[in-house]
């Protein structure tokens, strides 16, 4: 009896701690993609040196210029130091303790068609809800709208498993394949554009990627072509202690259009894993690219053990006049997110947009934002960032807007909203604004608020449980960004927002 009283008194006194513990319990096991595929793998030896770089290049049957390109990057990288300016804190990464190449043994001989792909790999994607059959709809995406086909390139650790709808896309002149295939089949295009947006030595992580990138997607949309379907790449990290270094290159010729989406997941592990990707978009006159990301890498456990270190360089170059790019990202996973999809608005009247939802829960740390570099006249950019922090997470928006002297009459509008759930998390906004001409205008609005108790109570009094209420309110907060996603993925993203916040209250 006395013990019971003591316990309940303790519980009352330490209510906050108890809540935290319960949160943690509720949270673990909620990551839906944390399972592992048991499959025989072939690894390159651990660690990084010139031999490994050569080996990766050889595995991909690359021409010599590319091997040399990689080696040049490697030699630069050795001289570089890891950046420390981001508001993220993590133990030093031992770059010699990572596998830089991992490939399922069954992929040793590249399957000629998807029918020949190892059933275990097919089952992996099926379980993730990614259709590798050429069917019309992503599994798990609800909606009464008529289904549109989505072409998928599936990347498993270091290799592309297969790409769907290639034949149909080819009819429209669209090339959609893994980058290693592009190197073999379309070397002239790859040589022309690779590294032209994110130079080899751009930054520490991009340079590392240039040295060791293994696979990723390549898209080429010829002049005047509107890509007949959504394109997507699904990245899966499976092997332990393995880095994923994918490289994506999309070229939109004059007057063309494509909408592209990438999704990412990884198994739950208590060790950290490195992901350092580079994405380059080349957009010529009157062309438009919509690039959407639903990033759901394993975020680590409640104490920050495990999870993906996500260091990504993404950049779009609006090379032609009136070129348009729209980045939309839903960043819910990863232990560390370091990512600033950027727009170089070189062409006159070119436009860049960045819509972002970044959720950091438990011990996650996100430092993400964008750069809008206005070089051409009458260029426009718009930034809408929604940061949600819960648990003990830290969430930073870092954004740069630069109006160069020649970017006459250009405009930027930035709206940056932060939402806090609980009182142990943090939200930070770090804008850099540089205006070097008199005719351009930059507007920046920022808000920070706590999730509103009255709103939650209102929802609950109508029958929703607390998590459902939070999900609903947060989805409302993110609405503008969710609406920017292709319809096929909006539902999925909405559900993901809810799942990532499970356990963040009560």
């Amino acid at each position: 009896m006395a013990l019971e009283e003591n316990l309940s008194e303790l519980e009352v006194r330490e209510g906050v701690d108890r809540e935290t513990i319960e949160t943690v319990h509720a949270m673990s096991g909620k990551y839906k993609h944390g399972w592992e595929t048991e499959i025989e793998m072939e690894f390159a030896p651990k660690g990084l040196n010139e031999d490994i770089v050569r080996l990766i290049s050889a595995k991909n049957d690359e021409p010599e210029w590319l091997t040399e390109w990689r080696l040049a990057a490697y030699r630069r990288w050795v001289e570089m130091t890891e950046p420390t300016w981001a508001m993220v804190d993590y133990p030093e990464i031992d770059y010699q303790d990572i596998y830089y190449y991992a490939k399922p043994k069954s992929m040793e001989v590249k399957p000629k068609s998807l029918d020949e792909v190892d059933p275990k790999l097919l089952a992996t994607y099926a379980k993730l809800g990614i259709p590798l059959k050429e069917q019309a709809l992503l599994a798990g995406v609800e909606g009464a709208e008529p289904a549109r086909p989505v072409a998928v390139d599936a990347v498993f650790d270091s290799v592309s498993v297969g790409t769907t709808f290639q034949a149909e896309l080819a009819k429209a002149g669209v090339i959609f394949c893994s980058i290693s295939e592009a190197v073999r089949e379309h070397p002239e295009l790859v040589k022309k554009y690779l590294g032209s947006v994110v130079p080899q030595s751009d930054n520490f992580f991009a340079t590392l990627n240039a040295a060791v990138f293994s696979d990723g997607s390549f898209v080429y949309i010829p002049e005047g072509v509107k890509c007949p379907m959504e394109l997507s790449t699904y990245f899966r990290i499976n092997a332990e202690n393995t880095g994923q270094f994918e490289r994506t290159l999309i070229v939109a010729e004059k007057g063309s259009y494509v909408s592209y989406l990438e999704g990412c997941t990884a198994p739950k592990r208590d060790t950290n894993q490195l992901h350092a990707a580079v994405v380059e978009l080349v957009i010529l006159e009157d062309a438009e690219i919509k690039y959407s990301t639903v990033q759901n890498w394993f975020p680590g456990d409640e104490n920050g053990k495990g999870g993906i270190y996500n260091f990504v360089t993404k950049r779009a170059d609006c090379r032609g006049d009136r070129a348009k790019v729209m980045w939309t990202q839903v960043e819910t996973g990863s232990a560390i997110t370091w990512k600033y999809p950027s727009c170089i608005l070189r062409g006159n009247e070119s436009q860049g947009e960045f819509y972002s939802i970044a959720i950091a829960n438990n011990a996650q740390q996100a430092d993400t934002g964008t750069k809008m570099i206005h070089l051409g006249k009458n260029t426009r950019s718009r930034i809408v960032s929604k940061g949600i922090s819960a648990g003990k997470a830290q969430n930073t928006y870092r954004g740069q807007v630069t109006m160069h002297p020649k970017a006459q009459n250009s405009r930027n509008y930035t709206q940056c909203d932060s939402l806090l759930i609980g009182d142990q998390c943090g939200a930070h906004t770090v804008p850099y604004i540089e205006v070097k001409n008199n005719s351009s205008r930059v507007e920046h609005e920022a808000t920070t608020s706590k999730v509103d108790d009255d709103q939650l109570f209102y929802c609950r009094s109508r029958g929703m449980d607390e998590e459902e209420a939070v999900a609903l309110v947060v989805n409302g907060f993110c609405k503008e960004v969710l609406q920017a996603l292709p319809m096929e993925f909006a539902m999925e993203a909405q559900a993901l927002v809810a799942i990532s916040l499970e356990g963040s209250v009560g």
Binding site: Q455, F457, S461, G463, M464, D465, E466
Partner: protein, 264 residues
């Protein structure tokens, strides 16, 4: 059930509040000082009372809002203790509060909100979710009777709604959720004459054998439309007087001072 049965032993008790004492959680401020109130199924009870007497607090405590501490007493819905339940459990058990100040939820469509709420309750009761099609039909029908147009259903919950629109929206939620026990907190305030009639019609349409109502109001005008069976006067955190519809008329005519002077 005949009218006379309501006063007899046969009446089904819907809501039974006994000796309810409530203070603010963070302050030593006592708001409810022993509320006793019983609402039978099929009956409409009205609560009137001066500003600050504790009417909204009672409705919040019944629906489970944070910030209050129940120091004594109980409140049962059909014999089940409400005060032990989470707000959503109370909702699923059949309790509904039409808020005095409905809350705005930016970015969440009214339709989405309603469907999420309805399905959450159905799920909690082990019932099947309503399909999108059936739901749409249901909402259209109920919205039309409250003269709520389609545009309002697409807009975010209560955002930019006029005062009257917010109140009608509350009644729409009530009509859809079909609760057993409806508490209306000053749903009439801010309504024009026509809207008041719509809301009253909405309430009257829901009146049934199996449903109880607790209508908090300052004005006889609403009670002209929604004829209460019982009228209570709340003052200083207590029900101090209970009577028939004539009590509301007396308040309207003479104000509280005389009435309260009589009981204190």
């Amino acid at each position: 059930m005949s009218r006379s049965a309501s006063k007899g032993l046969w009446a089904n008790i819907m809501l039974n509040i006994k000796n309810l004492h409530v203070k603010l959680e963070d302050e030593d401020k006592v708001i409810l000082r022993g509320v006793d109130l019983t609402v039978e199924a099929g009956k409409v009870h009205a609560i009137m009372g001066p500003n600050g007497s504790g009417k909204s607090t009672l409705s919040y405590v019944l629906s489970g809002r944070d910030g209050y501490e129940v120091t004594d007493g109980s409140a049962e819905l059909e014999g089940e203790e409400l005060l032990d339940m989470d707000p959503e459990e109370r909702a699923a058990a059949g309790l509904f509060l039409a808020f005095q100040y409905p809350v705005e939820i930016p970015g969440v469509g009214n339709m989405t909100f309603l469907r999420t709420a309805l399905n959450a309750q159905r799920k909690a009761r082990g019932e099947e979710e309503v399909s999108a099609g059936d739901f749409l039909k249901l909402v259209r029908e109920k919205a039309a009777s409250l003269k709520i147009d389609a545009d309002m259903m697409k807009r975010p919950v209560n955002v930019g709604f006029s005062g009257g629109e917010k109140k009608r929206n509350e009644i729409l939620q009530m009509a859809l959720l079909e609760p057993k026990m409806c508490i209306l907190d000053e749903t009439d305030s801010g309504l024009d004459v026509d809207a008041m009639k719509l809301v009253a019609d909405g309430v009257n349409a829901l009146r049934s054998e199996g449903r109880g109502f607790l209508v908090i109001t300052h004005y006889q005008r609403l009670l002209d439309h929604i004829k209460p069976d019982v009228v209570h006067i709340m003052a200083n955190g207590r029900i101090v007087l209970t009577g028939g519809p004539e009590l509301a008329l007396e308040v309207e005519k003479n104000g509280y001072t005389d009435i309260l002077a009589g009981v204190e």
